[in-house]
């Protein structure tokens, strides 16, 4: 059984360590906040200028001056701070954000990522994604292993315009957990019930399988 979005988020949440500063992209990455294990204190950074992002507000506490990078209304937690965009990206570019989690259209076996532009479709822009992938110490991609036509999105070379080169460290897809290594995608864990063969078939890039590959435990 392939993982659903919440399960992908749940699995990614385990990558986060106590005390980490984390930037969560739009989509599945946003869900990761719901699965941070108890006892682990994580500070969420939003690149539009805040540290210490809290949950969504209630109708009573909503404030138009308090939004996240996805332009959603949010709240802040005790110990939060607000700052301008230059300072926000100083944190990101300077390597102060420990983990960046974002989505992708494609990832190559060299760690290249394509996530912002599909030729022929409306181009909205890269936002902060290029800054994030160029600088974060630990970049984890949350993505579907294949597209709707069943074609692999884990490739030898990306076919879409790149967001960044050689930057992705780990991928959590609906089928597997993989590391980007010098030799290619190294399979670490399988989604429950998904076979190595199925993952192999869904992976166009070089897949490295060494020893027994455990199932993801939930």
């Amino acid at each position: 059984m392939a993982l659903d979005k919440n399960q992908i988020a749940m699995r990614i949440a385990r990558e986060i360590k106590d005390g980490n500063y984390v930037n969560l992209g739009i989509g599945i990455p946003t869900l990761v906040a719901n699965f941070i294990p108890e006892g682990i204190i994580v500070t969420l950074q939003s690149e539009n200028g805040m540290l210490g992002m809290g949950p969504f507000p209630t109708m009573e506490t909503v404030d138009a001056d308090l939004i996240n990078a996805g332009k959603q209304t949010i709240t802040y937690l005790p110990g939060a701070s607000f700052f301008d965009s230059a300072t926000s990206f100083a944190m990101i570019r300077g390597g102060h954000v420990d983990v960046t989690i974002l989505g992708a259209f494609e990832v190559s076996e060299k760690g290249d990522i394509a996530s912002w532009k599909v030729p022929g479709k409306l181009i909205k822009g890269m936002g902060g994604a290029m800054d994030l992938v160029a600088s974060a110490k630990n970049i984890i991609v949350a993505m579907q292993h294949t597209n709707k036509e069943g074609q692999s999105k884990l490739l030898k070379e990306c076919t879409l315009p790149l967001t960044g080169v050689g930057c992705v460290k780990r991928i959590v897809s609906d089928l597997a957990v993989l590391d980007v290594t010098e030799k290619g995608f190294k399979l670490l864990e399988r989604a429950p019930g998904v076979t190595v063969e199925q993952i192999q078939k869904a992976t166009e890039g070089t897949l490295i399988v060494e020893g027994d590959i455990p199932e993801i435990q939930f």
């Binding site: 949950p55 209304t73 409306l122």
Partner: protein, 230 residues
């Protein structure tokens, strides 16, 4: 020194066709609503606008877009409005997309007298085409040049008559750097107070960066994505 002007109409004196103008704000958060509205009623056109986003169809910079006043947008994320898409696809509107952090830093650099600097963002992507690249510490970087503007238009929460500004929550975003980078910086504020009322330890934008200031009115502060807890 008193930098107060009466209203947005007085604030925009000197705007000319084809000028480069920066507008603060992220999405619709912290945008200078009064000045944008006033400019959308003015005859000025052919503007190069530097702003992280370009408003929505009927609010923010979308208003100036509808009036065909913008020749080029320099942004990191656009297209939340149908008219933007139409003008871009028809070639009426030129669009330069930049990584958000590089955009922010280019504006700060413009205000800080730093003509160029190196960043890793965009190396190996379309953004790097035509830009110088260079290796530092084993990693490739792009040379990015500073941005300045004839006018910078920013919005703050409170301000004093000397031009000192403070922002609320995430409504700071691009406003603080843009204030530094305008030849003339216009600040509109929700509350304008006499000098001495703001704590000098907690000024976000020192008055030296601001040339004109006024208290705005009828702030709508439209929310793009009202998202509530369940």
């Amino acid at each position: 020194m008193n930098k107060t002007v009466k209203n947005a109409k007085e604030a925009i004196e000197g705007f000319k066709d084809n000028m480069t103008v920066m507008f603060g704000g992220f999405g619709l958060c912290g945008i200078p609503e009064n000045t944008i509205l006033e400019l959308s009623k003015a005859k000025v056109k052919g503007l190069v606008c530097i702003s992280n986003n370009c408003g929505v169809d009927d609010f923010g910079l979308g208003l100036m877009l509808n009036n065909h006043q913008i020749r080029k947008m320099v942004s990191s994320y656009v297209g939340e409005n149908a008219e933007f898409e139409r003008q871009m696809l028809s070639g009426e509107l030129e669009v330069e997309l930049l990584p958000q952090g590089s955009l922010a830093e280019k504006i700060r650099a413009g205000g800080a007298g730093i003509p160029a600097f190196y960043v890793p963002a965009g190396y190996g992507t379309e953004v790097g085409i035509g830009k110088e690249s260079r290796e530092f510490n084993g990693k490739m970087h792009l040379l990015e040049h500073a941005l300045t503007a004839d006018f910078a238009v920013v919005k703050a929460w409170k301000g004093d008559t000397a031009g000192n500004l403070i922002y609320k929550y995430t409504a700071n975003n691009f406003n603080n750097m843009m204030a530094m980078a305008g030849k003339i910086t216009i600040a509109e504020v929700e509350e304008l107070v006499p000098v001495g009322e703001l704590d000098p330890n907690f000024i976000h934008t020192p008055g030296i960066f601001v040339q004109r200031i006024f208290q705005g009115e009828n702030y709508i502060k439209r929310i793009e994505q009202l998202t509530l807890s369940k």
